[in-house]
């Protein structure tokens, strides 16, 4: 393995030599491979909005000053199309412009495609993906924006068990990497809590879930977990489950998007008892961040609440660049990143984790929230502390 790392470094040294001089002393270019087309577009739009915001904020407030010069920060976004090639070619395009700092992409296939290219071209990246191999020791300059279900599923399930009684649960998720990786982790955690679990997978692109609903109903599950099913799919599943007479609590141990789920399902009444992972806890500080975005960017923040995490990620990246004192040395920026405490002025404090699950301590863990709807009424969010591995 070390042999291969060495090879990568050699090659990337050669490749970067051509560009070392091309980048001006203080201009940070951030590459954003974001999915902007197809069903996952809203995730990409949140990523793009957050990074552009963080860049503008840092420039206005002179947060990035290297050798006494306030740096300009530009963001270049390329549609990574939620596919491996899309992200790989986006990463190559960034490399061509001498961009060494990447924030994104969103999805597992994209991360899979981008990682080799980013490593070959010696880039530092903060990625999001729930895949079991999204980061690892073979990708030393790739960081992970936030924990997967291994980090936060347990507190949410506990919160659910406190409020509702259930001994069996069904997990439904798409049958691709984005679905199976999460569902299997969730299943393990349910089982640790003494809940027996059935897993149901569907083909991405399914529009009518009535057959799957029938299957779940006949398994007599008392609770349902939508895992990482896209919000639109999750909405139909909830609607059809309730129509079928399902009355138990519903978890969404997969990500934000509850508003969209409620819209598709037909309102909060239909969700009835619903718990979900909200990546950030909405408090006054967060609302201040929303307002700051509106003031700075002149429009409301992107609807998808992943916006907050990406803001965190982009700010961490800029901080790491500041400490490293270089805008184009991935190793130095990575090293600086590892020394940084996980902390954000709006989101709060957390830890670096990941050693146990990925074998590398490069995953950000920070406070999150448990969203609860009970009896069709939205309850205040429950603040959950950052999960630590210690």
């Amino acid at each position: 393995m070390t042999m291969r790392l060495g090879r990568f470094m050699c090659g990337t040294l050669l490749a970067s030599a051509a560009f070392g001089g091309a980048v001006s002393a203080c201009e940070l270019k951030i590459g954003v491979p974001a999915v902007l087309s197809g069903p996952a577009a809203q995730w990409g739009i949140a990523l793009r909005g957050a990074t552009e915001f963080a860049a503008k904020e840092a420039m206005e407030e002179k947060r990035l000053v290297i050798n006494g010069v306030a740096c300009t920060i530009s963001v270049k976004t390329i549609d990574s199309k939620y596919s491996a090639e899309g992200a790989a070619s986006a990463a190559s395009a960034f490399a061509a412009e001498g961009i060494k700092v990447i924030v994104g992409p969103v999805g597992s296939p994209e991360v899979t495609g981008m990682k080799p290219v980013a490593t070959r071209n010696r880039m530092v990246a903060m990625v999001n993906s729930f895949a079991k191999n999204s980061i690892g020791p073979e990708w030393p300059t790739v960081f992970h924006i936030g924990p997967g279900p291994s980090g936060w599923a347990a507190p949410i399930i506990d919160a659910g068990l406190q409020r509702f009684k259930f001994k069996t649960a069904a997990i439904v998720a798409p049958n691709d990497q984005g679905g199976t990786d999460i569902a299997s982790v969730n299943a393990d955690i349910f089982k640790q809590r003494g809940v027996s679990v059935t897993e149901e997978y569907y083909q991405r692109g399914t529009t009518n879930f009535a057959p799957i609903v029938t299957r779940i109903m006949s398994s007599n599950a008392e609770a349902l977990d939508l895992a990482s099913s896209p919000a639109g799919d999750a909405g139909i599943i909830v609607k059809q489950m309730r129509q079928a007479g399902f009355t138990g609590p519903i978890f969404r141990l997969g990500g934000p998007g509850t508003d969209e789920i409620a819209r598709v399902a037909g309102g909060l009444d239909i969700l009835k008892d619903f718990l979900w992972y909200e990546p950030v806890y909405m408090d006054d500080k967060m609302r201040a961040l929303e307002q700051k975005y509106e003031k700075l960017m002149g429009s409301a923040r992107p609807e998808n609440s992943d916006f907050f995490r990406w803001t965190f990620a982009a700010r961490m990246m800029i901080k790491a660049v500041q400490i490293a004192g270089t805008v184009d040395n991935a190793e130095k920026i990575s090293a600086a990143m590892r020394t940084l405490p996980v902390e954000d002025e709006h989101i709060g404090k957390g830890y670096w984790i990941g050693q146990k699950f990925f074998g590398i301590n490069q995953e950000m863990s920070y406070p999150f929230a448990i969203g609860v709807i009970q009896g069709g009424v939205k309850q205040p969010f429950i603040r959950a502390d950052a999960v630590s591995e210690k």
């Binding site: 739009i45 692109g205 399914t206 529009t207 009535a210 057959p211 029938t214 006949s218 129509q243």
Partner: protein, 288 residues
């Protein structure tokens, strides 16, 4: 037993929706010789037009469905007569043009309405139950509307002169033109009929499922499956195949598991093609 019956109901609902889509698809193929890659686009856009009329403008839902149907028929008419007509002789060019048009439509929807699903509820709620069998009233109404639309298409195709003309063309275009039919005059009409049906189906079905810019992709795949199974150009074949596809999808998904359902369906279609390349009710595969 209950779940067996419930699954049958799901299959029939699916079947009626697929029928409306497949009828349009198969008419377009039979009459114009065109595989319409944009079919799913008309379905989604119909859904969004109905959403706009119903939710944003506040028009009654049935009016919104009619408007969706008419506007998609109009768009289909324009597309056929302005663009498709120019390349109608070259089946590969028609493929490219409809494919391109689908991309344009999907992008237009994304730009106008955004990527997230809007709230587009069906005006009627409530569920009919009998023991373990249940059937939402909304689905019942949609099923009824779909069946009515199927009857309308049959009436049009089998009882009117224009329909007889279309059928003759769809069964044997060269013979029909040899008999002196003004084949081309029917092209935009047939295309508009098909896209109007797709738009209407979208307006009916998206509120009971979900409305999002990408839901047209799977419509295309299922229309393909249905017409392959039924025999391209055959109206009755498409209808039977749509119900078979719906039932198999439902039963396979329920008894074998979600993702196996699709695999079963695809495998079955492949087998049918091998055994009976012309489809269940298709005429013999034309020679040259």
């Amino acid at each position: 037993m209950d779940s067996f019956i419930a699954t049958g109901l799901i299959g029939i609902s699916l079947g009626s929706q697929y029928t409306l889509l497949a009828l349009g698809f198969t008419l377009i193929f039979g009459i114009l010789g065109v595989v319409n890659f944009a079919h799913g686009g008309f379905y989604v856009m119909g859904g969004y037009v109905a959403y706009y009329c119903n939710v944003i403008l506040g028009l009654p839902y049935p009016v919104a469905v009619m408007l969706a149907m008419l506007s998609m028929a109009a768009l289909g008419w324009l597309f056929e007569s302005l663009i498709l007509e120019r390349v109608i002789e070259d089946h590969q060019a028609t493929l490219m043009v409809t494919m391109g048009f689908y991309l344009v439509m999907a992008t237009a929807i994304l730009m106008i309405f955004g990527a997230e699903s809007p709230q587009f509820p069906f005006p009627v709620t409530g569920v009919w139950r009998l023991g373990g069998i249940y059937f939402p009233y909304a689905n019942m109404i949609v099923l009824g509307a779909c069946l009515a639309a199927i009857v309308f298409v049959y009436w049009l195709v089998y009882r009117t002169n224009i329909g007889r003309g279309m059928r003759a063309m769809s069964e044997d275009l060269p013979v029909a033109s040899a008999l002196g039919m003004r084949t081309k005059a029917l092209f935009p009409f047939a295309f508009a009929l098909a896209t109007g049906l797709a738009g209407g189906t979208g307006a009916l079905v998206t509120p009971i499922l979900a409305l999002a810019p990408h839901v047209g992709d799977s419509v295309l795949a299922f229309s393909f499956l249905t017409v392959i199974l039924g025999g391209l150009g055959s109206v009755t074949g498409a209808t039977c195949a749509a119900f078979i596809v719906g039932l198999i999808e439902a039963y396979a998904a329920v008894y074998l598991g979600g993702s196996k359902g699709a695999l079963t369906l695809f495998a079955l279609v492949l087998i049918i093609l091998v055994v009976r390349p012309q489809g269940l009710l298709g005429r013999e595969v034309r020679r040259s």
